[in-house]
């Protein structure tokens, strides 16, 4: 059973609350008022439900196939046709600049669209997602010639992109990667690249003829470690159509995303072209990765949503046992609908309220990405950019962790049916799990947050964020309609700054192990606080809006504040006890 309808009304509300009107006010986006944006998403949502969802289950069951003789990969049935339709709809090219064949739409559109495509076919949507990341990297670091050569084709979808970082001996620790690139004599900017990459998503497939790899490798004179890495474009087919020696050596067998090929990629003296400066490869790759990390975060929202819709459809039909309240018993039937049971509601609302909270966060980040790109005032642009950077690890880690838990909770609400393939939630659970690992494991995100993003520029981004929260509290504390919501946001933000200053900064500064011990919990505390602030804003808008939608929204927000936000207290307690009990065991005791 595959049930999904794009959550258009909630996306619209989230964008309104997040201040999308700021984006529509930029001259470049004057054609993209909220109505238009939602019109596009509405049409795209229909495409997703009808075309992409139709291949989600079959793609999972059939999987991708590797032919060891031709070293080629065949996608599941229908994927090639789907890819053609996807490109014809120009979904992939929307946000890119017109000079390279894009349509100059705001980034917000792509961000919101990625929720819909991922919900309906996560495996498939990773392919255009990676291509989009490569476009982003080239836009910033490619030479004019590279841009002219690759961008139009990537944007049209005529070729797809990959990111090749991981090697057998290095995943998290890219400093120890060994793939080499040696200059080809007499050809400036051209290198011969040799090495083995593993787990490369869409490293080989039959959706397009050509594939453009972005490869991390070392130049002969490279310094040791992470400061000695450069980035190269390595196309599968060279400009004259000949095959570049970059081959798929096999596919991984894995828990989920069965329709997404995870490839061994052997570079055997492949021709590659340097992107950006020598030894500055991580900068280029981070452009691609930051975009990708945010979209990985969205995967948690997407699969939470489809799991919720599925579980809800199941629950509405299922009758078991009697309501605890006799007044709610339906005596015309042998049992009551399970929605009468408080715990079934608890599960469904856990998923719904957190999903809408995470969507509030993603909409807010999306708007800030556009502000960072397009605001006329450089100061405003900078502030927005720093905010996005601060929140990138938070979105990636929190939304994927909560997303996985949400899918599991939706499964629970369906009882045994949830565990069977009939209801598809088991596929969503398997597909979801990887998101906590790739693009940098969730703990690496947490380390990025406390080690790099928080202290960056003297903690400016965090201070800017805190100021917004305090402004919100000050402006709304006398608004009686808001009830205890403002008080709860205040409590969360006080707790966050207390933990940040008095526990994290104070202890981690002296002992990095203390930082490592609490980083993951801290990231979740941070995320919940931010979501409380954003849902507080939504509550205000919901009051103004009223009507059935507004009333329901307020109830869901209430649930978040009652049942989800209090997690911050257990997180704080865990953080306060620090590393002691983790490090007390000797290695041979573990």
């Amino acid at each position: 059973m595959q049930i999904y309808k794009a959550p258009i009304a909630d996306i619209r509300f989230a964008l309104e609350s997040a201040g999308y009107s700021r984006v529509a006010a930029f001259e470049a986006f004057s054609d993209y008022d909220l109505d238009t944006l939602m019109g596009i998403l509405d049409e795209a949502g229909k495409f997703c439900t009808k075309e992409m969802l139709a291949l989600n289950r079959t793609g999972d069951q059939e999987g991708v196939k590797y032919d060891p003789v031709t070293l080629s990969v065949t996608m599941p049935k229908g994927f090639k046709e789907l890819y053609t339709k996807f490109c014809e709809g120009e979904y992939a090219s929307m946000v890119h600049p017109p000079e390279y064949g894009g349509h100059g739409a705001p980034f917000t559109l792509a961000f919101m669209l990625s929720e819909l495509t991922t919900a309906t076919n996560k495996s498939f949507s990773m392919c255009p997602g990676l291509t989009q990341g490569l476009v982003e990297a080239l836009m910033h670091y490619g030479s004019d010639a590279q841009k002219a050569e690759y961008l139009p084709r990537l944007i049209r979808g005529a070729v797809t992109g990959t990111m090749c970082l991981t090697e057998p001996q290095c995943g998290t620790d890219l400093g120890i990667l060994t793939t080499r690139a040696t200059p080809v004599e007499g050809r400036a900017g051209v290198y011969s690249v040799t090495g083995t990459k593993i787990w490369i998503t869409f490293g080989e497939h039959d959706l397009t003829d050509n594939i453009i790899h972005l490869v991390l490798a070392r130049l002969p004179d490279a310094p040791e470690g992470i400061k000695g890495i450069s980035t190269f474009l390595v196309p599968k087919l060279l400009a004259d159509g000949t095959r570049n020696p970059v081959f798929c050596g096999g596919l991984e067998h894995k828990m989920g995303i069965h329709a997404s090929p995870t490839c061994v990629i052997n570079l055997e003296g492949a021709e590659g072209y340097l992107v950006g400066e020598p030894h500055q490869g991580m900068k280029v790759m981070f452009k691609m990765m930051n975009a990708a990390r945010l979209t990985v975060g969205i995967e948690g929202i997407a699969l939470s949503e489809i799991s919720y819709q599925t579980a809800l459809a199941f629950a509405k039909d299922r009758r078991q046992m009697r309501a605890l309240d006799p007044a709610k018993q339906d005596l015309s039937a042998k049992a009551d609908n399970i929605l009468v049971h408080p715990d079934v509601r608890r599960m469904l609302l856990n998923v719904r309220a957190s999903t809408e909270g995470m969507r509030a966060l993603s909409a807010w980040i999306a708007v800030h990405i556009d502000v960072a790109h397009s605001h006329p005032d450089v100061k405003v642009r900078e502030e927005a950019e720093e905010l996005v950077a601060l929140f990138t690890p938070v979105v990636k880690s929190y939304c994927t962790e909560r997303g996985f838990w949400n899918v599991s909770e939706a499964m629970q609400a369906c009882g045994g049916a949830g565990y069977t393939t009939d209801w598809s939630i088991e596929q969503y659970l398997r597909d979801m799990r990887i998101a906590l690992i790739y693009e940098g494991t969730n703990h690496i995100q947490a380390l990025d947050l406390i080690g790099r993003k928080l202290p960056s520029k003297g903690g400016r981004a965090m201070m800017a964020f805190s100021k917004r929260v305090t402004d919100f509290i000050r402006e709304n504390r006398d608004d009686e309609r808001m009830g205890s919501i403002v008080e709860s946001v205040k409590e969360a933000s006080k707790l966050l700054s207390d933990i940040t200053m008095n526990t994290l900064m104070a202890k981690a500064a002296r002992d990095p192990e203390e930082g490592g011990a609490v980083a993951s919990s801290y990231l979740n505390l941070f995320a919940l606080t931010a979501i409380s602030y954003l849902l507080g804003q939504q509550a205000k808008l919901a009051h103004e809006r009223g009507g059935r939608f507004g009333e329901t929204k307020l109830k869901v927000i209430r649930f978040f504040f009652d049942k989800i936000l209090p997690e911050i207290h257990s997180l704080a307690a865990v953080i306060r006890t620090g590393k002691a009990s983790m490090m007390a065991l000797a290695e041979d005791e573990i």
């Binding site: 309808k5 054609d31 238009t36 019109g39 596009i40 049409e43 229909k46 495409f47 339709k85 014809e88 709809g89 120009e90 979904y91 090219s93 929307m94 349509h103 739409a105 059935r548």
Partner: protein, 251 residues
């Protein structure tokens, strides 16, 4: 080649439509709307025909309240050239009223072809195309599942009980579309953006010289179909046959 095509706003077939408590109307709370799927097929066909002809225009028309603009825009985003919304009180519309307004539009616009869905999935009346053809004295082909234009006429294959009927008609003509005629496209992003700038004229029934009185059809009541009786699982073919013969009397 000029084609007028209809785009009726109907309840989404994915939404649950239930009558109000008194059975006099439909409760539209929590119901989504979209373009009648048969109209969507007509729009697609019209765009393909004009594209193939290399010249001409597709004029899309909807009738109803302002919300129906969305269906006109959708057709424009698919590729129609110009839109017309006849804004009116939907409660006054029945097949006759819609047909009379379309007749007037056809007389003003003089298209080669009027393309409509064979029926709308809300009312399921299946009358408008036939009525318009009769009023105008134009040839008609209903339930088209294949259509090819030759010069100033068309050959249409119609789905009829147990087979296909092939008819030829000369323009101007009325054709209504069946499900298998084509698969409508999804509007691409650039076309959605372009549609915003395409001309869309709003007019009233009076502008067309049509007075909407009380509808000729009065709805007495709406009711839900009776729910299906539980099925039976039988253990063998023999039991099945015996049940079909003796109980269901189907054989």
């Amino acid at each position: 080649m000029k084609i007028i095509v209809t785009a009726k706003r109907v309840t989404d077939y994915d939404s649950k439509v239930i009558p109000t408590a008194d059975g006099k109307a439909i409760n539209f709370d929590n119901v989504d709307f979209k373009m009648n799927p048969f109209c969507e097929i007509a729009v697609e066909e019209a765009i393909r025909l004009v594209d193939a002809a290399g010249e001409g225009e597709v004029v899309v028309v909807a009738m109803g309240d302002e919300e129906a603009t969305q269906e006109v825009r959708k057709a424009l985003a698919m590729g129609a050239h110009r839109g017309v919304l006849v804004e009116c009180d939907e409660s006054k519309l029945d097949s006759d009223a819609v047909a009379r307004m379309l007749v007037k539009l056809c007389q003003d616009e003089r298209p080669d072809l009027l393309l409509l869905g064979k029926q709308a999935v809300d009312g399921d009346s299946n009358q408008v195309g036939q009525l318009v053809a009769e009023h105008l004295g134009w040839p008609q082909a209903t339930f088209a599942y294949k259509l090819s234009v030759e010069g100033k006429g068309a050959t249409v294959q119609r789905e009829v009980d147990g087979g296909v009927e092939t008819v030829r008609l000369s323009f101007p003509a009325v054709i209504t579309t069946d499900l298998r005629l084509n698969e409508p496209r999804y509007p691409s992003l650039p076309n959605i953006m372009k549609a915003k700038k395409k001309p869309l004229e709003t007019m009233s029934p009076e502008d067309l010289g049509v007075a909407l009185g009380a509808p000729k059809v009065e709805v007495v009541s709406y009711g839900l179909p009776s729910s299906r009786k539980a099925g039976q699982v039988v253990d063998s073919v023999a039991t099945l046959v015996s049940k079909l013969v003796n109980e269901a009397k189907a054989l």
